[in-house]
Amino acid sequence: MKHLVRWFVVIASLALVATSCTGDDGGDGGGATSPGASPEPVTITVVDYYGEATPLSEDVIAAFEAEYPWITVKYEAGDWDSMREKFTVRVTSGDSPDVATMDMTWIPTFASKGIFADLTELSGGQLNDAPITDQYSEGAVEAMTFEDHYVTMMFDFDAYALYYRADQFDAKGIDVPTNWDELSAAAEQLAEDTDGDGENDKYMFEVYGNDCFHWCQFLFQAGGTILTDDNTAAAFDSEAGLSAMEYYRSFLDNGSGVYWGEAEGEPIRGIKDERIGMFLDGPYYMGLLKDGAPDQSGKWKVAPAPYSVEPGSYLGGTGLSIPVNAPHPEEAWLFVQYMLRPEQQLGVFTLAGAAPATEAALASPELTQPDEYFGGQAPFPIFADTMAIATHFPYVEQWDPIDTAIGTMVESVMLGESAPQEALTDGAAKVNEELAG
């Protein structure tokens, strides 16, 4: 008896541990309304990870509510870092929002678990009274589609181009690189040892650590792919993969690159203190640069990402999704459509400094205006051109562990813990194990 009591006390004192992944069974979240917008007052919940500079601004929401007076929007601001966890908790606990901003890299995992409402059914293939296929690029339409139906509507896109310190390029007589050899040469010319300790400490090329997205751009540019065409096996343990890995590592080996991992914090730190003079990233970084390094206005420019075999990029960005158990899917769809009108899409650029995803917004002259921050350049068309040839990540259920395996593989090479070929072989074995399992 004494032992039983003791066990009970121990278990009770530890019980909290096991509650960390509990919730109810989700349910239907209150049931959907009947087809067609209901005149009954409805409150929809919108969760958004954009932060302060969100295009889902108070004014925009007020305008939506004025146009649809029976709908009230409960807007919940979040941040990218915690959004995924919060969204998962809410959807699985039956407290689902009606609309959520979704990183496109999360789509494979969530879609394969049946988290998203079928937007093909909800929309009838029409967005703001025109076919969805006419309003997005082919790559975007593919990225929004999972198993023959739409699971999200792309709100902003992410395709990589080269950001570089134009003032330093001019001062040092460096030409803008267009291929890998030129990029290597430019990086070596750009980097500086300002304290005379024999190691470069300024204007280096950013080599990102545990991040599948960054390295995969190089894989893409080397003509490689992550998985085979039928998504059944790893394809990056290849000549292209080895070339991409060795090339990425070469920036650290010759001292022209600076390693930037999780421990280093946000890369904007390195941009502000000028350790980073060149990096590959998406259009959303235009806004981050302006906010994070306003004193460097006029010093940066953007160029198409240099490549080895194939120009282009993997495609990321943000989608607007409606969870399968959203309480008011029809009203949520009205909100999604409203946010994808050209005037709201422009807000993605003007408010958030990111890139709108619809063709109508992309064609807007506002996006091609010279930008003072970028020395009078209009950087946006460079990203738009890249988007036209970008492809999305493989849509497989096991994407999360694959993403982790590739990120770890890249990190181990960049930190010198593994040789490139060894890491690729191990990484491919892990990915194949996941795909087989």
């Binding site: 003791r6 066990w7 121990v10 278990i11 004192s13 530890l14 019980a15 909290l16 541990v17 096991a18 509650t19 960390s20 992944c21 509990t22 919730g23 069974d25 989700g26 995924r84 966890e85 998962t88 959807v91 699985t92 606990s93 995992t109 969530f110 678990k113 049946g114 988290i115 650590g209 545990n210 390693y259 991992g261 999780e262 421990a263 280093e264 914090g265 203190d273 399968v324 158990n325 999360d400 562990p401 982790t404 770890t408 990190e411 181990s412 930190l415 813990e417 892990k430 399992g437």
Partner: protein
């Protein structure tokens, strides 16, 4: 008989709200989580029974095994150093030290500070151009990428956790120290016992329940480490700081609620066994 019933009824009525709350929000979720750990479940739809497959999957998964190993290293380092430091600080503060109140408050301030804030401060301190490397530079020592090096990242996080938590241990030990009758020390002094003999033969035995409390609470907390790792390293580099709770949340975010629940139950089992062993050992010695 009637009076006894009334007495029981009053007792049950008084504990009913707490029992109900614990039942609804603790034991029911625990039971559900246990059930899910035996299923393939995404959080939506119906769980599909898979028996012990999630547990088999976990122990065959390199990431989970690494997380398990990292967690044990974290606990061993943290609990090997933290309480000892706390105990020594308490001994110091219990003696006649000037500004004792100041030191007591100073030691406790990190405990009251948000763990996220503490982790952020240490992350900045430990960066390439951080204060730690600058101080090392003053002595002609080379700097180090503490959080980017897989061999030093976990120890660096342990140091942060010890710094944040040892003030709590100090205060608890200090309270226990002050409860030991002075007469025992006076008698020991008369018998010629040295300071360390007094510590060994009077202080430590008298503080055994407090030591047990500190270790049980500390070990439970250490096994649940997450916040400081999320802020400082994100589980990297190369998963060198990935811990069990980190692994659990990763699986939860991937909507593998079955596997996530299995991780929670592995954690629960480890803590239950360790706590039982601790209680057993301390009680046997008593």
């Amino acid at each position: 008989m009637k009076g006894r019933w009334r007495r029981y009824l009053t007792g049950y009525a008084l504990i009913a709200p707490a029992l109900l709350a614990a039942g609804l929000f603790l034991y029911v979720p625990i039971a559900l989580s246990g059930f899910w750990s035996l299923t393939d479940y995404s959080g939506l739809g119906s769980p599909e029974w898979v028996g012990l497959a999630n547990y088999v999957e976990l122990f065959g998964d390199d990431l989970f095994v690494k997380a398990l190993r990292n967690t044990f290293v974290f606990v061993l380092l943290g609990m090997g150093i933290g309480p000892v430091l706390g105990f020594l600080s308490a001994l110091l503060l219990n003696s006649t030290v000037r500004f004792r109140g100041f030191f007591r408050a100073a030691y406790f301030i990190p405990v009251m500070t948000s763990l996220i804030v503490v982790a952020t401060i240490w992350k900045i301190l430990l960066q390439d151009d951080g204060l730690v490397n600058q101080v090392l530079g003053l002595f002609g020592l080379p700097g180090h990428a503490w959080l980017s090096d897989p061999s030093t990242a976990l120890p660096a996080v342990v140091v942060t956790s010890i710094w944040q938590g040892f003030g709590f241990e100090t205060v608890v030990f200090l309270a226990a120290l002050q409860g030991i009758p002075r007469e025992l020390y006076d008698a020991a002094k008369v018998d010629g016992a040295s300071y360390w003999q007094q510590v060994r033969h009077i202080t430590l035995p008298a503080m055994r329940p407090t030591i047990m409390f500190v270790y049980i609470i500390g070990i439970i907390g250490s096994f649940q480490v997450y916040d400081q790792i999320f802020v400082m390293t994100g589980g990297g580099p190369i998963n060198s700081t990935r811990t069990l709770v980190f692994d659990l949340i990763d699986r939860f975010q991937a909507l593998n609620l079955g596997e996530a629940s299995a991780v929670a139950y592995v954690l629960l089992a480890i803590l239950a066994i360790l706590s039982y062993v601790q209680i057993f050992v301390f009680e046997r010695e008593r």
